[in-house]
Amino acid sequence: MPEDDIIDVSDFDPNFRDEIAAEPGGEYIRRCFSCGTCSASCPVGGVTDKYNPRRIIHMALLGMRQEVLSSGFVWLCSVCYTCYERCPQDVRIPELMNAIRNIAVREGRIPQTFKTQVGQLRAHGRLYEVGDYENERRQEYDLPPIREESAQVRQILDDMDVEEEAE
């Protein structure tokens, strides 16, 4: 085994599991007994070995904070809830992934695609703009016009500091 592949436990953060457990959605991380039902059921893991929920949970429990937060791991969960239904320990893995994502975001680690989405939400209150062009097209199909409501969505994102995080 190459020297670089050996993990150095002195870099671990033993409090990481408590940090995750304190985050809404992450409460049940300590229940995991690493059975691997999540990984066996995972449709993302089924097509790529880049994503392996059991591995991520195990890394988090070991305290590999930097590795978990800086890699793209947690962003690869498609949030399909297949593992959520099947987990014998009710770890609620998609919510756990969201909890870790929330922690990563607070440290400024936010993938570009989400930054773009926040930009759309701030500008239009929704992921796709509904302007004159879209409303004209809707009218062609006898569908009622839609008025964008962006100010209140922007206020929510501002109040929760999502804007700052997304920059």
């Binding site: 297949t82 239904e85 994502r101 975001v105 926040v118 992921l127 006898d142 569908l143 409501e149």
Partner: protein, 292 residues
Amino acid sequence: MSRYALYLGCTVPVRGLNYELSARKVLDRLGIQVADLDGFACCGFPAKPLDWKAGLLMAARNLALAEAAGCDLLTLCSACTGTLTEAAHRLKEDARLRAWVNEELARQGKKYSGKVRVRHFARMLYEETGVERLKELVTRELTDLAVAPHYGCHYLKPSHLYDGFDDPENPHSLERLIEATGARVKHYEDEGQCCGGGILGFDEDTALLMTKQKLDHVVAAEVDAMVLICPFCAIMYEANQRRVEGLYNTAYKLPVLYYSQLLGLAMGMSLEEVGFKLNRVKSRKLAQLFRE
């Protein structure tokens, strides 16, 4: 007053007009009036991974609008259904969380007391209208069509949000709804698999590989169309079908229909009336079957 307000979300009113217009026509045929409320915005789904509080507040804002109008929410998108149902559950059960949400909503002149029920269009048809009633309204049985159902994820999961509706591992509601139109249901490998839409923006290759896998399985079952109930699943299987074909040098030419389109056709509507012009993958068989 309408019992339901129609909540369209972000994707349907821009990229799923065929879904919206066929659903509205079907609702009309069923005599179900829906209200179009002013002020709805995104359900909060894209904000939850970044900041759960922002996601919850965005959902609560929409719930508050419906509550003020005395309506429940009727949804077309499964991701919206999941996000809004989760928020409705949490805010009904957790008085402290509700109090916090209301402090924030008060700044927007809104209030939410926890009364709104969220229902996906297909679930509403299955539970409230009922398959027998749908059959009565079918004027053209689609017996010449064999279709593959795709339930998607958030319509059924996480199941604790949906009070025991259907079986997340072996669902049947969409199958029964399809059978009501006379069309034959064909099952295929890995029927419950996710479309991959959730990670399209983050890792396109992986997402499209998930899409490819399902398209392979559906095409192997030799169907005339795939039938689904979520606009994002449609983006993956229909709007991205050509891209997957290009990437993997294959040809599916698999028509993808929203259930509301299938039902509309069975109710005697034309392809044009159900918005088939907006479906990207055409098929000679469908065109011949439903020629005016």
